[in-house]
Symmetry: C2
Subunit: 217 residues, 2 copies
DNA sequence: TAGATTGTTAATCGATTAACAATC
DNA sequence: TAGATTGTTAATCGATTAACAATC
């Protein structure tokens, strides 16, 4: 397409939010929305919303606003949600199970093809219709099944090994839940979800809130 | 303490990373570290690291650097990790299970006291030594057991109800895994973990990478 | 046409980086 | 003391907000 990749991550991270809010508008049969209305819903300023959208094209119409359905569809395309992604999950623990069972990923086009583990007790089992295979088979499975995304749900100590296999197999992106910094080749995307860091900010903010409160009195 | 709360979220979100990297240094018996060395490990600039740390106090020593153990301990205190947090999980689905079983939360002082659900089939069961109780009991449980943090692992449609009960019960923070914007009173912290938004940025970045590659050739 | 709202440029704000004096 | 590295101020960079002409 005609667009560039000098889009800042700040903008990129707002796109899924726009997509979600527009989906909600559509669920409520709202067909038309102005940046001001979107501002009220999302909490971003109208100015920022217009700036963000204009990174990708002029989706609006002066005097009218945006067609909610069209904008939703276009942002979906921008996010790459107009295709199908075959995924594998590494680690059949609780988190691996949770992700395999999470139907909204499936609905959005992210299809889990297999789960990999090393524990002989669970290999061969099925988790929400997806088979658990031995990690030994991961690399060839990726190549034979056109897997785009690997989801790492292993303990920290095994995360880099898992990433190495995923990269050798040729995935394009890794969604990493292990609290480790993966080293991968430049052409592979890594998105980290670090739950413990997220939880620590909760405790930080609770503490901070308490301190400012006790100061006021 | 003497510190203020005009710390930007950008800084706050780096603190858990510093904490983690310092923990790793200590595991490797490294007692002393300069901002330059930390820069190499973390990928942040040395200048930024010094700026960040100085928001909270002068933990270093000119000509020497930082004492890794002391800095680790101090950042732990800043994050509020020197106390114990009693938590409850709402939603005994896969994600609720995964979080109840995640031992690193426990190790860091976040202790799950009970899991709540409405499904009669699982009420009374135990998930990693924690009992599943009926949602009806949530509010009184929070008050009687000094619960600080509620963890919402319900489907989206029930998330706001769960949040309302948590707030009435008096929690100080909510860790929310449902893709919904919770409305809570100002004195309650909400930290959202939106998995679908995170996954969408993966597909965005994969697509963007492909486009820039195909342009180069 | 008059009113509304976008697309876009310019102004502001905040966060990051550079530089260096202070000092261990 | 000489060398190293912090703490901190100043400069730069990037992101957000404001403003308004373009136009539906």
């Amino acid at each position: 397409m005609e667009r560039f990749s000098n889009i800042s991550m700040a903008v990129v991270r707002r796109l899924p939010k726009y997509y979600r809010y527009l989906g909600e508008l559509l669920n409520n049969d709202i067909k038309r929305v102005s940046s001001q209305e979107l501002s009220k819903i999302t909490g971003f300023t109208a100015s920022q919303i217009r700036q963000d959208l204009n990174c990708f094209g002029g989706f609006g119409q002066q005097g009218y606003g945006y067609n909610a359905e069209e904008l939703h569809r276009e942002i979906g395309k921008i996010l790459g949600l107009d295709r199908l992604y075959r995924t594998v999950i590494i680690g059949a623990g609780n988190l691996g199970h949770a992700i395999a069972n999470y139907s909204s990923f499936d609905k959005s086009g992210f299809k889990t093809q297999a789960i990999f583990d090393v524990d002989p007790k669970i290999i061969g089992e099925k988790v929400s219709n997806v088979e658990v295979l031995h990690l030994d088979k991961l690399e060839s499975f990726i190549m034979q099944n056109d897997i785009t995304i690997g989801i790492i749900c292993t303990p920290k100590a095994y995360a880099q090994d898992a990433a190495d296999i995923l990269v050798r197999g040729g995935v394009k992106g890794i969604w990493n839940f292990a609290p480790a910094d993966l080293k991968v080749s430049d052409d592979v995307i890594v998105e980290n979800v670090n739950l413990i860091e997220s939880l620590f900010t909760v405790s930080y903010l609770i503490k901070e809130r308490e301190e400012t409160n006790s100061k006021k009195r």
